[in-house]
Amino acid sequence: MNSINKIPVIEEKRTNPLARVFDEFVRFCRSRSLFILHYCTGCGAIELPPAMTSRFDMERLGIQPMVSPRQADILLITGYVSIKTLKRVILTYEQMGSPKYVIGICSCTVNGGMYWQSYATAKKLDEYMPVDLYIAGCMPRPEAVLAGLQKLMDRIHSGEANSWEDYFRNYDYYLGNQQKLFGENWQTPTDIITEAKHYDLIGEGTLGKHTQILEQHQKPLEALDMRLGHDLKEPTE
């Protein structure tokens, strides 16, 4: 199942012509300012420093590296993801703020690449998280990386790069694949379901049998609410 193409470009109903201009402006800004997460998941990361530094200079496209997932827009999966890394990648992906984009660099993210026999690496990245763009090659040259990023910029500008919504709307599917690989006890600290409710991103596939499994063992992750009054309920336990 590849559900990226199922999500239509959302045309919000806005009658004010200025609002349309404003939306266009926001989309433009989003496409011109991309923060890459500094996370070398695999060997393709070796081609990122050249793309970032003086020779190819990513910053002239408005792209710069960022340290923590909170700050970043793009998650570059640079090559094979071992299963241990995949858990961290999913955690990191969920911690990023939307709109967020995933780029699979190297062939290994597509179907496992030359490690197809390996017991330790996950094979198809888009089973576990929606991928906006693949840059194939082993490993793709910096020019290819830049070309891919430019393509992503175009897609963002035109409003096509909305795979992040797919993660909310089809969370059950992705969670199911994650549970299959990591076991049914799998839980990340980010509560995707309440987040989807909070931002009105609930889709048909958000809830399903896998999220039910999650809810059975999930430890509560509500934010620590600020308790002002003294009419506090006595603790239940």
Binding site: R30, V67, Q71, G97
Partner: protein, 298 residues
């Protein structure tokens, strides 16, 4: 002053500061790019970043204090701008004076410290501890310098300090009258910008950008806005203290950008100090220079 005029000034001054500050950010990044032999970001890049960050769809808050911290960080600087006279506009500079301005400039740091504190991330807390330590380091030479300038001018009112310097043309500039203090001030200003070699509290490789570690979307955007204000405030304060402010917008902006270009050009040629080395440096040279300068003034 007519109240309407004053209100317009109060609105215009932060706005101007923001726009100029964004250009200063751009200049900083362009200088870095030139030193690193590359092209650098496009002209509107700071604007793109800020708009993008504010338009993020999902953002993470760790609680009310996290929000308030960012509001304080932005609001403190917005308030501080109105105490900083620019050509043609004095705002309420006469009501506060330079000591108040210095204290108002601490409000954003305190707000940020509170906000970061609630993120429950030790990286952020270490960053704040280091930022406050850095503040302890550079504020001592800075107040010595400000003491000297204010004493020489006989007033803490920034409008008067600028007027005194503009009285006799180039010769009465603070930098000409008090060159030793001007040098000390420049070092202290460099440290207050938090750029290398004084970049101890961002330190990505040590504490993962410290205070910024849990900032997403508009929270980070608020910090970007704050950076614009910070660059503007620091350089304009230096211009007002030592370079005679500005009579026209052109020479005012020219001076501000030139002053800022000095620390920024130095910054990209150095690694960062350790905390105690920073303290040692700041408490040795600028303090010594500042005290010598003050002795001349007295």
């Amino acid at each position: 002053m007519a109240p309407m005029e004053l209100i317009i000034e109060l609105i215009l001054m932060p706005l101007v500061a923001f726009v100029v500050g964004m250009m200063m950010v751009l200049m900083m990044r362009r200088i870095a790019a030139k030193l690193q032999r590359r092209i650098g970001p496009p002209f509107f890049q700071p604007l793109y970043d800020i708009v993008k960050l504010h338009s993020k769809r999902t953002q993470v808050s760790h609680g009310l204090i996290h929000d308030i911290g960012i509001v304080m960080a932005m609001g403190g600087y917005i308030a501080a701008e109105t105490l900083l006279p620019v050509p043609g506009m004095t705002g309420i500079a006469e009501k506060g004076g330079i000591i108040t301005l210095l204290y108002l400039m601490m409000i954003p740091s305190l707000g940020l410290a509170l906000g970061v504190g609630q993120c429950a991330n030790p990286n952020g807390s270490i960053g704040i501890a280091r930022a406050l330590t850095a503040m302890l380091a550079y504020d001592i030479p800075l107040v010595i310098v400000i003491f000297g300038v204010a004493y020489a001018a006989g007033t803490t009112n920034l409008v008067d300090i600028i007027a005194v310097q503009q009285a006799g043309g180039f010769e009465t500039w603070g930098a000409v009258q008090m060159p030793v203090l001007a040098i000390a001030g420049l070092i202290a200003m460099h440290a207050s910008l938090g750029k290398q070699p004084f970049e101890i509290y961002i330190a990505p490789a040590e504490i993962a950008t410290g205070p910024m570690v849990e900032m997403s979307g508009k929270y980070l955007g608020g910090l970007f806005v704050m950076q614009c204000f910070q660059l503007y405030t620091t350089s304009v304060l230096y211009v007002s203290l030592f370079l005679g402010g500005g009579t026209t917008w052109f020479d005012f902006l020219l001076k501000s950008f030139l002053v800022l270009a000095i620390p920024v050009s130095i910054a990209y040629l150095f690694p960062r100090y350790r905390t105690e080395d920073l303290l040692r440096l700041m408490w040795k040279w600028p303090v010594m220079l500042g005290l010598i300068g003050v002795a001349f003034v007295l």
